[in-house]
Amino acid sequence: MRRLGGVGLLLLLLALPWMINPYAISTVTRILVIGLLAISVNLLTGVTGLPTLGQSAYFGIGAYTGAIVSTTLTAVGPAQMLLAALAAGVAAAVTGPVAMRARGVSFLMITLAIGEIAYVAARRLDITHGTDGYAGIPPVVPLPGLPALRLDGLVYYYVLGGFLLVFGLVMLLLRSPFGLALRGLRDNESRLRAVGYPTSTFGVAIYCIAGAIAGVAGSLWTSTQQFVAPGDMGFSVAALALLAVVIGGLGSMWGSVVGAGLVVLTQDYIGGYLAGYGMLLLGVLFVLVVYLLPRGIAGLPLPRRVSA
């Protein structure tokens, strides 16, 4: 039954550009990108039990890497994605051990600091063009030899491709022995140590993987927007990603994407109608979700059983 639903959804996603207008398609593209960022947060927070407000840092590193690569090396998308994943992964490898010195709230605080520091760095460094933002990004080339993508619908397909690839890999990860170890870390870290796991090492490993995923999301963002600014990696981005995960239900990957959709749409449409009240609305959304959806959408009693 779930298989059928999944296939149906895939077909819908593939047919989408023929069904809705270019503005709507670019919104869906953004939802996919933020969804990927939310998935990276979910891997840490929902699956491994490490709450984070710092994934925006690696998202930003990926975005700026994509920008720099596109203007200096190559406009080929997959190359940008790969280098973005690498840069973000390395940054995560450097910062991960610091964060893994702590757990719970302290861990959250450290990730917040990391995100904030990355944001300040983006504003101050020359290589990111500071507060002006990084412009002049050429349209992405999906594969070497193919023409650059200029239509919103085609960019959507490129992003969808990247999204599905990462989503698939994450699903494999979750069903693997490593995935089970992550859930063990979440449930009872000291017991995990007592059955022979070097828990901090596993923590750093998933931290790097999540960082790399955020980096890929970042490069996809750059390809969509063709512009990167420090605000794209600020604190509110991290907070929104976390909100998306909580809305969707901790541990549920499809929930995170749905949550991302809700967050993006809220910001865009409703925030547009109630201009200037974006922050207020988001705050209200946070409060409502915490009180009304203790286990997110995935935790709601639905006809079929849902799991990560």
């Binding site: 702590a102 302290s106 915490v290």
Partner: protein
């Protein structure tokens, strides 16, 4: 050596001022978490309450400043009460939910503040007697900063004595270390916890009123204050007043002296400082609570 000190003295004193400001903000956060296990991400909002009160009421006279202090602190306590009440139902639900809730409240408050006060960083008027600069040991220095150091320093000493040397402080420390044991000995720990929450909020708001001339109110200032407070708390260790003081002074110096000496690396200095401290002592400079 002496020349270097001479050249950088003003900055270092600036660092002490900044550090003491961070202390008034961070100590509340540290105690609130250490005590109630509540992660309060609306802490920066409490600072803004005080800072905006200073903007609105401090008109350059001493009376104005005092009124601002009174109103600011009371508003801060009220804000703290609201936060405590709203997080109470989530007591069993874990830190993530509290984080999101208080974050949501911070967003709402931030929006409201912008509507009322606009989105510019606002200048604060201080009483004319302390508005200028004086020359101390050959260096020109703003009088208000020195006054602030004196007041905040006195506050720090008072908080330290209250916390470490009084029986009330002993009760608070015991509750942080082992809440169940204290409850078992007949003390209503909820009163203690609410009291600490109110105290922490009052201090943050107080820091806002007094510190506004140094760190003026505006949008995203609450975010800055929150992050710096969190770094101080992580570096100092949760639930410890001495730790908060040491951490605050360290971060204060990093933020001022570090930035003055190595402006290119400015954003990374705090991270580096945090990293070094954690590498040396994972529980923070002075950890009272032995949490995993």
């Amino acid at each position: 050596m002496l020349d270097w000190f001479d050249a950088n003295l003003v900055t270092m004193v600036d660092g002490v001022a900044y550090g003491l400001l961070l202390f008034t903000l961070a100590v509340g956060l540290s105690l609130i978490f250490g005590m109630m296990d509540v992660l309060n991400l609306a802490h920066g909002t409490l600072y803004l309450i005080g800072a905006y009160a200073a903007y609105a009421l401090s008109d350059g006279s001493w009376t104005g400043l005092l009124i601002a202090l009174l109103v600011g602190v009371l508003a801060g306590v009220a804000g703290g009460g609201v936060l405590a009440a709203l997080t109470q139902p989530l007591a069993q639900r874990g830190h993530l939910d509290q984080a999101l809730l208080t974050l949501g409240i911070a967003f709402i408050a931030s929006d409201i503040f912008s509507k009322i006060f606009g989105s510019e960083v606002l200048p604060i008027s201080v009483p004319s007697q302390v508005a200028g600069s004086i020359t101390v040991f050959g260096q020109v220095y703003p009088v208000y900063r020195l006054l602030f150091i004196a007041i905040a320093g006195g506050l720090a000493v008072m908080v330290y004595l209250l916390f470490e040397r009084s029986s009330l402080g002993a009760l608070v420390r015991a509750t942080v270390a082992d809440r169940d044991m204290v409850r078992a000995s007949g003390v209503d720990t909820r009163i203690v916890m609410f009291g600490v929450f109110a105290f922490g909020a009052a201090l943050a708001a107080l820091g806002g009123v007094l510190g506004a001339p140094i760190l003026a109110p505006g949008p995203s200032v609450d975010e800055t204050v929150l992050v710096l407070s969190l770094v101080v708390v992580v570096v100092g260790g949760l639930g410890s007043v001495t730790g908060a003081l040491l951490g605050a002074l360290l971060i204060g110096q990093v933020q001022t002296l570090g930035v003055a000496l190595m402006p290119v690396y400015a954003p990374f200095l705090i991270f580096g400082a945090m990293l070094l401290v954690l590498a040396w002592r994972p529980q923070g400079l002075m950890s009272l609570v032995a949490r995993a």
